[in-house]
């Protein structure tokens, strides 16, 4: 039982980590708490759902692009849908920045104004999803898949293993991008000192656009992966928001590794807590963790040293 909870915690934590990195980027580089980030995940999940619906069309389930690949529940339509979702969410994020956040930045708006703007945009995105897709939850696939038995009588779905593997690859690629590429190092420099970055020749506006694009791409991945392993719901963004922020703050604002570790820690705690408290109370775990970290270590557990 406990091993199952631990494995489930790690698997779901990986998805939360993808979203939490976007939150930590917005806090460190864009310098405000983006409360619409959760809804960007939902936009990604629904964009993929939209393309899946078109790709599969009215044909019978389990045929053509919808035919399951090996042990997985989905067919080749899903990778296409994932790519489509990434493009859509990146464009939506850049559009929102262009229409709202950039205008506010140019007017010298303080971070609190940007936070309230993000609240408003979150509501807009959520209600647009409700308008076009309705309130009912969806699954990307209704195919039955056989669980894989792991040591310790732990059962894991093939979809979960694949999602976890892809997430690890994405995180490794992101680490390499931030560490070894000029634009990655520029993002880190802007996170620490935007004025000095500009003096050094970094185009701050372009770096902000890049930050939106990277955050949005990760949000799309997280949204689609959540849809693959759980389900797609209009309120999935708001429900994920607290774990995302808790992971980012727990890990230390600006620390990508910290956000990943924070996400894993939260998901592990959630799943372990579900063993001893009723499942309906599970969502309060991130909230308690957030309070604890803000009280005892407000800079986070893995904050980059200055």
């Amino acid at each position: 039982m406990i091993w199952q909870a631990l494995v489930d915690g790690v698997l779901s934590g990986a998805i939360v980590a993808l979203g939490a990195i976007g939150v930590t980027f917005s806090l460190a580089i864009l310098r405000f708490a983006n409360f619409s980030h959760g809804d960007l995940l939902a936009v990604g999940a629904y964009a993929a759902l939209f393309l899946l619906a078109i790709a599969v069309g009215s044909g019978a389930s389990g045929e053509g692009l919808a035919a399951p690949i090996g042990p997985f529940s989905f067919g080749w339509a899903l990778p296409l849908a994932l790519a489509f979702a990434i493009v859509v969410v990146v464009l939506v994020a850049l559009l929102l920045d262009r229409l709202v956040y950039r205008r506010l930045r140019r007017r010298g708006a303080d971070p609190l104004t940007l936070v309230f703007a993000s609240f408003g945009l979150a509501l807009v995105l959520r209600n647009l999803i409700l308008l076009f897709f309705g309130p009912d939850p969806f699954h990307y696939s209704t195919e039955i898949q056989m669980a894989v038995r792991m040591p310790g009588r732990v059962l894991v779905m093939p979809d979960q293993i694949l999602v976890f593997g892809i997430t690890l690859l994405v995180l490794a690629a992101l680490w390499a991008f931030l560490r070894f590429t000029r634009h990655g190092i520029a993002m880190r420099s802007v996170a620490e000192n935007p004025v000095l970055s500009g003096i050094a020749g970094v185009d701050i506006t372009a770096t902000i656009r890049l930050t939106w694009a990277v955050s949005a791409a990760l949000a799309a991945l997280a949204g689609v992966f959540y849809g693959v392993t759980v389900q797609v719901r209009p309120e999935m963004g708001i429900n994920l928001l607290l774990p995302l922020f808790t992971a980012a703050i727990l890990g230390g604002v600006g620390s990508v590794g910290g956000a990943v570790a924070g996400a894993l820690l939260i998901s592990l705690c959630e799943n372990l807590a579900a063993l001893v408290i009723p499942g309906t109370y599970k969502p309060m775990v991130p909230f308690v963790l957030l309070l604890l970290v803000l009280f005892f270590r407000p800079a986070g557990l893995f904050a980059p040293a200055r």
Partner: protein, 244 residues
């Protein structure tokens, strides 16, 4: 100075943080390639503001700042840098969370292609940095940080280097070392506009100097003339100049 030799020219520069409260008032100055021009004066005189206005960090409210004949006033800092001007601020001039090499790579952000030769040149010029290549900026001493900040600024191969109090907080030995580097940089053909509180050290390596008081240029001349001017020495530069 001949007009042809002038690389930086300021005419009637009015600059500051608020339009209704400018800090620099109608400053005129010029600088030639390979020359060190030092800005002197008491605290709050507007020396740093003037240099920051050249760097694009502080707003230019009136007047003109031209580098190699092109207006650079109010350009964003990255475009000023792209135009061949590098700036080393007085504080927060290195990225403490980035390694020494990453700091230099950020300095070379605008450079297309392989940064290897420029990194090698930076480490050859500042061997102490080569020994701490992988160390984070926060692990460096004050002198090493200043060296790193200058090395970072030189990564774009600028034709004009702006320095804001490079000796601040350094030991006398480090001040000598940093200023020797600055002189060598100027001797390589790079113009240097430098704010300095350490008057003795500043005038030792400078070719010319400007003395700012209350945002206005009160005195200007060669370094030797400023050192020998009793009025300047007594009013703004301390007693050393009179004694020497």
């Amino acid at each position: 100075m001949s007009a042809a030799a002038t690389m930086l020219r300021g005419e009637g520069v009015v600059a500051g943080y608020r339009r209704d409260l400018p800090i620099v008032h109608r400053a005129d100055f010029e600088l030639a390639a390979g020359e060190v021009l030092v800005l002197l004066g008491p605290n709050g005189a507007g020396k740093s503001t003037l240099v920051k206005a050249v760097a694009g960090v502080v707003a230019l409210f009136a007047g003109r700042i031209a580098f190699e004949g092109r207006d650079i006033g109010n350009l964003p800092p990255h475009r000023v840098t792209a135009g061949g001007v590098a700036f080393v601020p007085q504080t927060d001039n290195v990225f403490t969370s980035l390694s020494v090499e990453e700091n230099l790579r950020i300095g070379g952000h605008l450079v297309k292609g392989d940064l290897g030769p420029r990194l090698a040149a930076a480490f050859e010029r500042f061997p102490d940095l080569a020994r701490h290549r992988r160390a984070p900026g926060r692990a460096l001493s004050g002198g090493q940080r200043q060296m790193l900040a200058i090395a970072r600024a030189l990564m774009t191969a600028p034709r004009l280097l702006l320095l804001d109090e490079p000796s601040a907080g350094l030991s006398p030995r480090m001040v000598t070392e940093v200023f020797d580097h600055v002189r060598r940089i100027a001797d390589s053909g790079i113009g240097v506009l430098m704010v300095e509180q350490n008057v003795r050290a500043g005038l030792r390596i400078a070719d010319r100097g400007l003395v700012l008081v209350n945002g206005r240029i009160a005195h200007s001349g060669t370094a030797q003339a400023l050192r020998d001017d009793p009025a300047v020495a007594q009013l703004y530069l301390g007693k050393f100049a009179v004694a020497s």
